[in-house]
Symmetry: C2
Subunit: 417 residues, 2 copies
């Protein structure tokens, strides 16, 4: 958002070349919802017959567009998506509902569809009435600008229009076969905290030209979200607006009909979709506010996978662990602390910790004659690997986070003022 | 610990004048467990007949002295307390148990009591075998140095011996009557994070010369801890070593016998004890690593008191709320977010937020024609008051925290190296 903010040191070299997804047309515009001199609205038109699945924030103070999407999702059908940056339309009372209804109705008019086929998402400042009229004014023009999502440039423009405090646009894709027919999966997302309620809400939109019933789509999406977007954390905060939507246009080459999530023909699609989601989720961590290190925390030996994930998140959310890593300090005592506070079963006397592949602690104490040199070397890198075995069972999980630096304080202590 | 660390700007003017507590004798010594040139061991001798109650960390990786205290507490009887700073004796495997047993046995020998009457606590670096022999060597001398806890200087010396990253010694006291007999309550504590596993563990020790059965003592202590030490947070981290012990020597002037926690003669004692605990807990927040603001968060209108406390802690632990306050920014949108993520019932459309006595948001949206000037003025002060009503029921709670500043990052990113 701030033109002078440097791109995250953990960013990919460039925006990836996203493939064409049949049945998706995109347009972006500079509507001036809040920002000047940049695009701030994305309109996507989806072919008739498009199905949709989604996961939305569990927040008790969810934004108006989140409540709207929750209302639409049971139908499982979509014809459009409209996203704005600059205003989250959250905590805006009755005006918030009016703003989302006004926006989706205008989209429905332009695309000649029912309002409940139009999905909406907003990200930006919260608690300020949204000037949705500025979006409505531009919708005719956006409708005329719609173009097939078949070049990397169009995808990148879409990813840029939804950015807030992001320092780089985020996209990921895979081509994969269902039976012997190739389909595309392309996704974009934004976010540079698990959330910052002003700006860094996580939004993700994934499109495929495969033809999949909404029920199958949701059954594929939900578990994959648990292992991807719900396994990352920047600052432990949860947005009023977090949204992931997956659209299947069915407009690609015809493949065998899929009626069940358990159909083996869907196996490679599932893997590819999860890879896209994980790639996008990792990019959010890599754009974490102030991040200088990308951290993977793998927990094994827990009671079950859920327990492993809770222990992993306890480590990944610990300010003490994250500041130690920022300081390039292999302070494994703080990892022991974070395991202890997770509240999950752990055998203190079997606990083992490996950092950057080097055993640091085992059987509940520091490794005998431990040489810190290789670990200290690992801590100087940008990619930090922490593995913890808690000595109880077979549960395992990996979560990802970034370090907690002066940059985070600078961005968040000074943002609104 | 670091002689150059400035005293917290939120510190009290001076150490308070703690009163004599009959039946308590104290000695401090410089044993060189880790630190040079300062005291690092506190020995307290308690009169025969002293009862004890305690609350100890729920951490699954609890330290050896915590496990020892948990083993002793069911007896409800104490003759001594030994505390060292510099090494937490946590995650030290079999050696940890040996160290605590060696220490308490040496104390028991000097004071001619059973080892299980000797309570122990350790705070400092974790994962390093503790040089407990250095304490043992000094115990004869410490035994000779024991002096009645009847001057403010003796109490202050005790509070200083247990400090780690603390920037000031912490004490609080009350004189109160049971029936018409005056008794004293005096407490000391240390901690400058809810925890930092290296150094900032919270330890609190409170002494009274009242005569109270151990069961009554525990029944008085537990609920008060919930509203005091368990209602503060600096960084949401939980120590391997957190310990609060309450000793009643029964050596003061004789008062009416108390056999039940519900005895009305105990009412003023309960209030006074809670005041001492709250005073100590607040001092820990005021010494929070890098703290520049003391923040009280009061939540009303929750489903019940527990729900209110969880919402309060969600606000108080949010890095985004804490950094906004560090930046003197009345960013109430982040408070809305933190309410939402707490997972407790909240009515988005009734939510009201008051900062420094000024309504900021009500009925689920910003206050009409809100003038930010008085709130901005409040944010510049050292004492920040946030009140949130979530519009559901009668549950209420207050929690306390500090802001999240560059100072926190500096202290924790660079500590061990």
């Amino acid at each position: 958002m701030n033109a002078t903010t440097p791109v995250s040191p953990l960013a990919p070299e460039s925006f990836p070349a996203l493939p064409a997804v049949a049945g998706v047309r995109l347009a972006t515009g500079a509507c001036g919802v809040k920002y000047e001199g940049r695009t701030d609205v994305l309109l996507a038109e989806l072919a008739p017959g498009t199905t949709v699945a989604g996961t939305l924030t569990q927040s008790k103070t969810a934004s108006a567009p989140v409540l709207w999407c929750k209302e639409c999702l049971p139908d499982g059908a979509a014809r459009a998506l409209v996203v704005n940056s600059g205003n989250a339309n959250a905590f805006t009372g009755g005006h918030g509902r009016k703003a989302v209804e006004g926006t989706v109705k205008a989209v429905a008019d332009v695309l000649a569809c029912r309002p409940h086929r139009v999905y909406a998402a907003s990200t930006g400042v919260i608690g300020e009435p949204m000037a949705y009229e500025r979006i409505v004014e531009h919708l005719e023009g956006l409708g005329s600008d719609l173009a097939a999502a078949d070049t990397a440039a169009i995808w990148e423009a879409a990813a840029r229009a939804i950015m807030t405090t992001d320092t780089f646009p985020k996209g990921a894709s895979r081509k994969v076969s269902i039976g012997d027919v190739e389909v595309s999966i392309a996704g974009i997302c934004k976010g540079s905290g698990m959330i910052a309620p002003d700006m860094a809400t996580m939004l993700g939109f994934v499109f495929t030209d495969a033809k999949l019933p909404a029920g199958v789509l949701q059954a594929v999406l939900s578990p994959a979200i648990g292992r991807t977007f719900n396994s990352i954390t920047v600052d432990s905060d949860t947005s009023t607006s977090d949204t992931v939507l997956l659209f299947a246009t069915g407009a690609g080459s015809a493949h065998a009909e899929i009626t069940s999530v358990d159909d083996p023909a869907l196996d490679t699609f599932k893997v590819a979709l999860e890879e896209v989601l994980l790639d996008l989720a990792h990019q959010i961590v890599r754009d974490g506010e102030g991040a200088t290190k990308f951290i993977a925390v793998t927990v094994t030996g827990a009671e079950d996978d859920s327990a492993a994930k809770r222990i992993g998140l306890s480590i990944a959310n610990s300010p003490l662990v994250k500041t130690a890593i920022a300081g390039e300090d292999a302070n494994w005592g703080r990892i022991v602390m974070a395991v202890g506070k997770a509240g999950e079963a752990a055998d203190r006397d079997k606990l083992a910790i490996v950092i950057g592949g080097v055993p640091v602690a085992e059987v509940g104490a520091a490794v005998d004659g431990f040489d810190e040199t290789p670990v200290a070397q690992h801590m100087k890198g940008q990619e930090i690997d922490i593995a913890v075995d808690v000595g109880i069972g077979d549960g395992r999980a990996t979560v990802w986070t970034c370090d907690l630096t002066h940059g985070y304080i600078e961005i968040n202590a000074d943002y609104r003022s």
